[in-house]
């Protein structure tokens, strides 16, 4: 355990107002990703993704994370802080989360931090979070660009916290000392009780994220947004980004093109169904 998650002052506040539930410091890890509508293609040399003309959004699963953090704060009070690693353009996604209602943000922005893998991203996030006060951390289940689904788990390992991945329901129990969550597993949900602080990664179904309101968007512009560089984190270039990565993409490709196949002709729906069943059985032998 890092021991940083509850500062002395907070413990005092908790003792002196034991009748009131303690306010919570909630962190949300957030990534800016290309829109789900975007057509993604490699560059002509196939060594990178061509982001020309691509629109960026808050990672879909991170929106659920932000929403859940806001709901917890609305219940028990406290503060929601966004922590995001990304290039300059990631500020837009951070501002969106602030416009939804998050209180402040930390942006890990340094060329050396980019083009890493899940491990180096988690390492940088862990280093930033170690110095912050937190009771609860939400992440998205996975980023919809690299689809790795690793950062929340590795972050837990580095911070000495439990990570529960893919939650669909969250509630505080035991005076806010624990969370009771539903974790999506094969065929159903595991119901788990987890002592806090802990990390939870959100999946679809957890909640319905709010849209930023116009006043929210105005307010977001004035909310504190701190930029953190590699030097501020106290990490070396060899530990982060492309240099520190444990995996590396050497080549991108497009999926094999599927040819449009046969349109089944027939006089009636029944005739078409019959021909289709026969083709599936005799031609491609899948039934």
């Amino acid at each position: 355990m890092t021991g940083h998650h509850r500062c002395a002052k907070k413990a005092l506040r908790y003792n002196s107002q034991s009748l009131r539930r303690e306010e919570m410091d909630i962190l949300v890890c957030l990534k800016q990703v290309p829109d789900t509508e975007a057509d993604i293609r490699p560059t002509s040399d196939m060594t990178a993704i061509d982001y020309t003309g691509v629109k960026f959004i808050v990672n879909v699963y991170d929106e659920y994370a932000v929403e859940e953090a806001l709901r917890v704060r609305e219940k028990v009070g406290g503060k929601v802080t966004i922590v995001s690693l990304g290039p300059d353009r990631a500020v837009e996604a951070i501002r969106t989360a602030l416009a939804m209602g998050a209180d402040e943000a930390v942006h890990l922005n340094d060329p050396a931090l980019l083009d890493g893998d899940a491990y180096t991203t988690a390492r940088a996030l862990a280093k930033a979070i170690e110095g912050m006060s937190y009771d609860l951390i939400f992440c998205g289940k996975q980023a919809i660009d690299d689809d790795l689904a690793q950062v929340g788990s590795i972050l837990g390992e580095l911070l000495g916290l439990q990570t529960v991945t893919g939650i669909m329901k969250f509630e505080l129990v035991d005076d806010g000392k624990k969370a009771r969550v539903h974790r999506q597993v094969e065929g159903g949900m595991d119901v788990l009780e987890v002592p806090l602080p802990a990390i939870f990664t959100a999946t679809k179904g957890l909640n319905e994220p709010r849209y930023p309101s116009l006043p929210g968007i105005m307010k977001a512009k004035k909310k504190p947004l701190k930029t953190v560089s590699l030097g501020d984190l106290g990490l070396s270039e060899e530990e982060v980004g492309a240099k520190g990565a444990l995996t590396k993409v050497v080549r991108y490709s497009l999926p094999p093109m599927r040819q449009a196949g046969t349109i089944i002709e027939g006089e009636t729906p029944e005739e078409k169904a019959s021909k289709l069943a026969k083709a599936l059985r005799e031609e491609v032998k899948v039934i």
Binding site: A149, Q150, S153, T165, L246, P255, K272
Partner: protein, 321 residues
């Protein structure tokens, strides 16, 4: 593991890993963790495992990240494998991610090809952006190099039932501190059906289904085919199907042998999520629907007539054989 049987993806991985082990001249070993799994271990020999490490006990009756990570990582530290592979199931992804953090090694998620480079290091191919793009991934020298493998992609290897694997029981003690949380309940959803990512046949419905009650005809077709029902984002967002049924970029990426899309137009996010299916059938009354460009077989007609007729035809064909 599921319901007291070895998952198919484990055999698929053994088939591919056997070739890699032969190339490297290293033994191919499997790891089984569960309450009482020993009986299944020798059978993995048929698919190429020489040795099976068995870690069993009450602490492993249900999957918990803490207990399974501790058991696996202690074994890995002792045996020092060069490559470690997982099935990319929900828990396989959870376990591999946590283990990569604990071991400080690289991990590629949900791979569709696994093999070796010239130097004998793991090299994989994996989809990104839900399959809009594929990436070839290499690893740093830190061992084990790790990957999770997507079910239903690599194909089943030939089984040689005469071969039995050597079983090595490993004693691992895990305590409450290792688990760190309490499993208080399990809530079944969808009648305990197989997860979409591992299904061999999926019958999926979209906006054209017009309502939750109409999915009954897809359930019936799925039942005669031995498959499961999936849904497009539109159908899930409309509240017709649970979120766990969603196929596509913000849902599940699937690769069944047969994918039947009913009343699904084929948005880019959906096409990315099912594009690696072996055979795709589209049933839609709109001949311009983009799904037809991806489909091996298309039926342009009213799905409410075609689907029940297809169910009947399949029932007849199955009765004949």
């Amino acid at each position: 593991m599921k319901d007291g049987a070895v998952k198919k993806v484990a055999y698929e991985i053994l088939g591919a890993a056997k070739k890699m082990a032969e190339q490297k001249g290293e033994p191919l070993c499997a790891v089984m963790i569960g309450k009482d799994v020993e009986g299944l271990a020798p059978g993995l020999g048929a698919y190429g495992a020489e040795k099976v490490y068995v870690i069993q006990g009450d602490s492993f009756a249900r999957y918990t990240t803490g207990a399974f990570t501790k058991a696996l990582c202690d074994l890995v530290k002792q045996e020092q494998p060069s490559i470690l592979l997982f099935g990319a199931s929900i828990n396989g992804k959870d376990l591999s991610a946590r283990a990569s953090g604990r071991l400080g090694v690289g991990l590629a998620t949900d791979c569709t090809e696994i093999g070796l480079d010239e130097a004998g290091n793991l090299k994989v191919k994996r989809p990104m952006f839900a399959g809009k793009v594929y990436a070839e991934v290499v690893f740093s020298d830190r061992k084990p190099q790790m990957a999770s493998v997507r079910p239903n992609v690599l194909g089943l290897p030939e089984a040689d039932e005469s071969r039995k694997a050597e079983v090595v029981k490993v004693d691992v003690q895990v305590g409450p501190d290792d688990i760190g949380l309490e499993v208080v309940d399990f809530v079944e959803v969808g009648g305990g059906k197989i997860d979409l990512t591992e299904a061999e046949i999926i019958v999926s419905g979209g906006r054209g289904m017009k309502g939750a009650e109409n999915f009954k005809i897809l359930e019936e077709l799925a039942e005669v085919l031995g498959g499961v029902v999936g849904a497009s984002r539109a159908a899930v967002d409309a509240g017709w199907r649970p979120q766990s049924d969603q196929v596509g970029q913000s849902g599940k990426v699937v690769s069944p042998n047969l994918y039947i899309a009913c009343g699904i137009s084929g948005a880019i996010q959906h096409l990315a999520g099912m594009g690696t299916s072996k055979v795709i059938v589209a049933i839609n009354k709109d001949p311009e629907a983009p799904i037809f460009k991806k489909a091996d077989y298309g039926v342009v007609d009213d799905l409410f007539k075609v689907v029940p007729a297809l169910t009947e035809e399949v029932r007849k064909l199955k009765a004949q054989s």
